[in-house]
């Protein structure tokens, strides 16, 4: 019996075990997944919790129910990967041998890594994150109470899960404040370590005006050194005061990755960007946010990468060369408030371009343009996530990015 061990039953881990369970012979392969938590979260839904557009029960399900019945689920905390002996050690001392290992333990926000953020007395009082379930839920009453002043949306450092989510938060906050008649009493600032809210030129040109129109001030190249009471202080000694801070803390991979000597400075596993095989290993892959590929940390990337990985894995395990090559394909709905949204579609080599998706000329989604259909697409995606993507069912979207339907604006 050959053993495939998957660490993490988040978006990537769940999709991969369910997909591979259909592809690998049940008499020959035992598939085990290790997960600490008993609930699986639909993380894109966290964006809507602070604004009470989603109820908490809409964004989580029991982990066990999402896995194929013949996949073994072990509830446990991972202590270390002992790659030299092909085994994983859990915190309770239990040892799990493997023939092939998939690390899909993602990244998590670490407010403790910025002095004053977690330990300054303001965490979950005037400083919130919305990348965790608890954070997003706690932010809802804080927004209800907020009746004016300085609202700062902030990114600590890159990379982060879903790089567009902070922008979406800023757009939705603007919409929320307008609906409540408070917008004139609020200074809304978007502080980013990047040179601008968007960095790819065409998206920046098309979308930069959206922040201006909403009178959202952008503070670019802002790399926070510390939080000092109600102020963000950058390494170059700029200060941004806030009454309410919605921050995206540093995103870091799991501790066991570092402990196992498998990670970089952010505990991300270096991999071949086309096959996701961990650098220096022949039987360890890292999928989803846990790896260091230079594209967005987003569920769509996990999905497209998992499609390529699944076929590759079957070849690899059979001793054949992997013929699939992941291209870094990502697509993200960008909720822009007022019942509209944008869609962006891109990969390692091609920046987000205007056009239509997925059917050239027809869409129904518009790339880099605000439409109500895009907004409905984003909302419909939650159903797709629970019922198609996680169970590993075929989705009629090509894993590789296509140029059909895209056009490059004239210089």
């Amino acid at each position: 019996m050959r053993r495939l061990l998957v660490l993490g039953a988040g978006t990537a881990g769940t999709m991969v075990v369910n997909k591979l369970r259909r592809r690998l012979n049940r008499d020959q392969w035992r598939i085990t997944v290790v997960e600490e938590r008993d609930r699986h979260f639909y993380q894109p839904g966290f964006l809507f919790l602070p604004f009470r557009r989603y109820a908490p029960k809409q964004v989580s399900k029991p982990t066990e129910r999402l896995l194929d019945d013949s996949v073994e689920l072990i509830r446990g905390q991972i202590w270390q990967v002992d790659a030299a002996h092909d085994r994983v050690v859990l915190s309770d001392g239990c040892e799990l041998p493997y023939d092939y290992l998939v690390i899909a333990t993602g990244v998590r926000p670490r407010p403790d890594q910025t002095p004053g953020m977690l330990d300054g007395g303001q965490w979950r009082r005037s400083i919130f994150d919305f990348y965790t379930y608890d954070g997003a839920v706690a932010l809802a009453p804080a927004l209800d109470r907020f009746d004016g002043g300085r609202l700062v949306v902030h990114i600590t450092d890159m990379p982060i899960k879903c790089p567009v989510a902070p922008l979406e938060f800023a757009f939705l906050a603007d919409d929320f404040l307008r609906r409540r008649g408070l917008r004139d009493r609020v200074d809304l600032t978007y502080a980013t370590p990047l040179p601008g809210a968007f960095t790819k030129p065409i998206a920046a040109a098309r979308l930069g005006s959206m922040l201006d129109e909403r009178k959202i001030a952008v503070e670019p190249d802002f790399l926070v050194e510390r939080v000092d009471g109600h102020k963000l202080v950058s390494y170059d000694e700029r200060e941004i005061p806030f009454d309410l801070l919605v921050t995206v803390p540093l995103n870091v991979g799991a501790e066991f990755v570092a402990r196992s000597g498998l990670g970089d400075e952010l505990n991300l596993v270096p991999v071949d960007r086309h096959t996701l095989l961990a650098t220096g290993y022949d039987n360890i892959f890292a999928l989803g946010d846990a790896n260091d590929i230079p594209t967005s940390k987003a569920g769509s990337v996990a999905h497209f990468a998992a499609e390529v990985f699944t076929a590759n894995f079957v070849e690899h395990a059979a001793g054949r060369p992997m013929t699939g090559s992941f291209d870094g394909h990502a697509n993200c709905f960008v909720e822009s408030g007022h019942g509209k949204g944008l869609l962006i579609d891109f990969n390692y080599d091609t920046e987000p371009l205007p056009g239509t998706y997925p059917v050239p000329g027809l869409g129904p989604f518009r790339l880099l343009r605000e439409t109500a259909v895009n907004h409905w697409g984003k909302l419909a995606f939650r159903w797709m996530y629970w019922h198609l993507l996680l169970p590993g069912r075929p989705v009629p979207l090509p894993a590789h990015m296509s140029m059909a339907g895209k056009n490059r604006p004239e210089e």
Partner: protein, 104 residues
């Protein structure tokens, strides 16, 4: 890809002036590039630049500030002092490496 000439050496650069060919860089060229953006190179600068060059050769990506700090042993605060305002971009420019890229 544009080509520019500095001190009689023809070098390939991108639209923003970042070198696109690793081997066209030299320490002398670094001095000139640094001068262009108002930086006078000291031993402390060279420690960062040397780490950046060596790390790029291994990783194939320009190191982030956090990587220079944790792996190269130079605190982020110091990098801001050495290469004021935009240290990641300025270091990459002087070290003859691609500009660190964003993802949106």
């Amino acid at each position: 890809m544009p080509v520019t000439t500095i001190d009689g050496h023809r070098i390939h650069v991108d639209e923003e002036g970042f070198l696109t060919s690793y081997d066209e860089w030299s320490p002398e060229l670094a001095e000139r590039l640094a001068a262009q953006i108002g930086v006078t190179l000291t031993d402390a600068h060279w420690k960062a630049l040397t780490f950046l060059r060596q790390d790029y050769a291994r990783q194939g990506e320009t190191a982030t500030l956090r990587r220079v700090s944790t792996q190269g042993g130079i605190p982020v605060k110091e990098l801001f002092t050495l290469f004021p305002k935009k240290p990641a971009k300025k270091m990459a420019y002087i070290a003859g490496l691609p500009k660190p890229h964003g993802c949106v």
